[in-house]
Amino acid sequence: MISGFRLIPLALALAFGLASCGRQEQTGTDSADTVRIGMAAPLTGPQADIGLDIQRGTQLGVDDLNAQGLEINGRKLKFELLAEDDEANPAKATTVAQKLVDSKVAAVVGHFNSGASIPASKIYADAGIPQISPGSTSPRYTQQGYATTFRVVANDDQQGPAVAAFVARNLKARRVAVIDDSTAYGQGLASTFETAVKAAGVEVVAHEHTTDRDTDFAAILTNIKAKQPEYLFFGGIYSQGAPMAKQMKALGLDVPLLGADGIQTPKFIEVAGSAAEGTYAAVPGLPKSQMPGGKAFLDKFQARYHKQVELFAPMGYDAVFVLAEAMKRAGSTDPAKVLPELKKTRYDGVIGPVEFDDKGDLKNSPITINVVRNGKWEVQEVVVPGAAR
């Protein structure tokens, strides 16, 4: 990998990173009653759809909170969202994390990519600021020993095995192949899936790798086809998953694709077209329609943004309210006082009951398996943890 060419993306990243500094000036006044909540996600790049979705959900949460009017110690608080773009880039993630810390945010909702959340978490931990990720599912994120890491989404230790259980029990598969996209997210997902599916007595005939920038998978798919799997599991996101589904059909690898939340978006179907049919994808949490606050949230979101919820907007929304609940319990917005309360907070959100275990992972998060039928994601089955193992 050591080659002059590899320096170019770095140079570009630097150039653009520098260019975008200084663009977002602080507008909020530093009145004692204004509470800043940070948010970070990829707002540009191939994953911008997901990041902007989170931003919308979080912004909606902050606005609703302001409309409800949270009072602590008789002082009415005004919440303000500082949204930052981490470009799904680990290096940029640490830069924006530092920027948020320097802006004295009370807490951070973010980041989305595990590869971004993990390096950023050290900066938040050093500053003692709670970080609630709406979408990072790598188990490592909460296993670093920081008291500040939380998430409102199931982790891959739960997602991967849920798909594995579904494949082994419901689909009665005997031979599966695995591809990961070499990111923290994709690798984590693929390896937990592989471990669980092997434990269930299913043979893993191949494990291939690609990257999160490739669109040509012909070579690895050809190799996999020769090993005759019945299902292909992909740990990665839709921007690779959709072309992969098409190329599978083109190469005559006519087996269903399996994946997780990264491919379960409307864009996957839009890009893959008819090749998307029959694809299974696990999604943390209940189906949007089955979420306790689902219908009301979807309506509100639609009315405000005239856009559909992609996936993680409800998590961003709930993260804001969980923080507010912990602040209420602490009687303060000081992160040092909020942090211990956050561990004890139980809040009934849009996604269902939110409660953290001692590591900061979500307790009892159900996982939904979806399937593409007639060009739409449909709910196939809800797998509850415990039963998944």
Partner: protein
């Protein structure tokens, strides 16, 4: 055996795409000694303009068969104008500057074009319509789609056309003269500025074709698609001998084959020690090996260092 043939077919399709893009790099390098890093972005613009044109034309009721030729023609026109403008605005003022200046400018142009595309088309992935038949054909047990055959045929045709242009026409002679020594060419009555400008225009038109073919083959288009493709194509051009048209074709096909066979067989041959994630490593190892043995690339001639 069937798998092996399929991997060869995969490699040839990938290689034909690299070769087509590599031609754009090698033409400009051949004449100016400049690595035009913005060429990958021209490819991207070609793909996205065609997509936008097709959507607009389809909405206006233009029949399906005419969509691709019309969209492509428009994209070629836009890219030709873009290529001429980039050359005029960004490169010509730096023609006598130290070599590093135009190189950095090229990277700058690449960023400007990428984020210009973000402003126009947004950041998401766009689904590309199936404009060519995709039902796979069986050729000796390897599955190849008609779209992929067209990719290979178009690459070969364009390559042949370019060789004819450079070696058999009056304009081609002016190109070669400019490449050899611009100052002397000017004294001999060659309009050097015009030759260089036209080289960019032709290269950009080819870029537009490449962009459309790539997008049809992978059925996606997005603002970053030109970047990695550009780097790979540039690698292919260096592998084949940058500045040499046939070298771009050879380098592209070779790189495609190395990638396909590398990621297809390395895992099995090394007992899982190296997986398909080492694909790029092998491509670059081959590049380094070739450059050690033949610094000018496979088909490159040993030429005196340019000023």
């Amino acid at each position: 055996m069937e798998t092996f043939l399929q991997q060869i077919a995969n490699g040839l399709v990938l290689g034909a795409i690299y070769a087509l893009v590599a031609l754009g790099y090698t033409m400009v390098y051949g004449i100016l000694g400049l690595i035009n890093f913005a060429h990958g972005e021209v490819v991207m613009v070609g793909a996205l303009v065609t997509l936008a044109a097709i959507k607009a034309l389809a909405a206006a009721g233009v029949p399906g068969v005419a969509l691709l030729p019309l969209g492509l023609a428009l994209a070629m026109a836009v890219c030709m104008a873009l290529g001429a403008a980039v050359e005029r605005i960004a490169y010509r003022p730096l023609r006598n500057a130290p070599r590093l200046a135009p190189l950095i400018t090229a990277i700058g142009v690449s960023i400007v074009l990428q984020y210009g595309a973000v402003l126009i088309w947004g950041r998401g992935y766009h689904a590309y319509p199936e404009l060519l038949p995709t039902a796979p054909l069986d050729i000796f047990g390897a599955r190849v789609s008609p779209a992929q055959l067209i990719v290979m045929a178009v690459s070969a045709l364009i390559m042949a056309g370019l060789l004819w242009l450079v070696h058999r026409t009056r304009f081609g002679r002016a190109m070669r003269a400019t490449a050899e020594n611009p100052a002397v060419a000017r004294l001999m009555g060659v309009d050097v500025d015009r030759v260089i400008s036209l080289t960019f225009v032709i290269g950009s038109a080819l870029g537009a074709v490449a962009g459309v073919l790539v997008s049809i083959n992978y059925s996606v288009a997005h603002y970053q698609m030109g970047f990695i493709l550009g780097l790979k194509a540039f690698t292919a051009a260096v592998l084949g001998g940058i500045g040499n048209l046939a070298g771009a074709m050879v380098g592209g096909l070779l790189l495609g084959l190395i990638e396909a066979l590398g990621s297809g067989y390395v895992g099995d041959l090394t007992g899982g020690l190296f997986g398909s994630n080492y694909r790029d490593v092998f491509a670059f190892l081959v590049l380094v090996g070739v450059l050690i043995l033949r610094p000018a690339g496979l088909l490159g001639e040993r030429v005196a260092e340019r000023a």
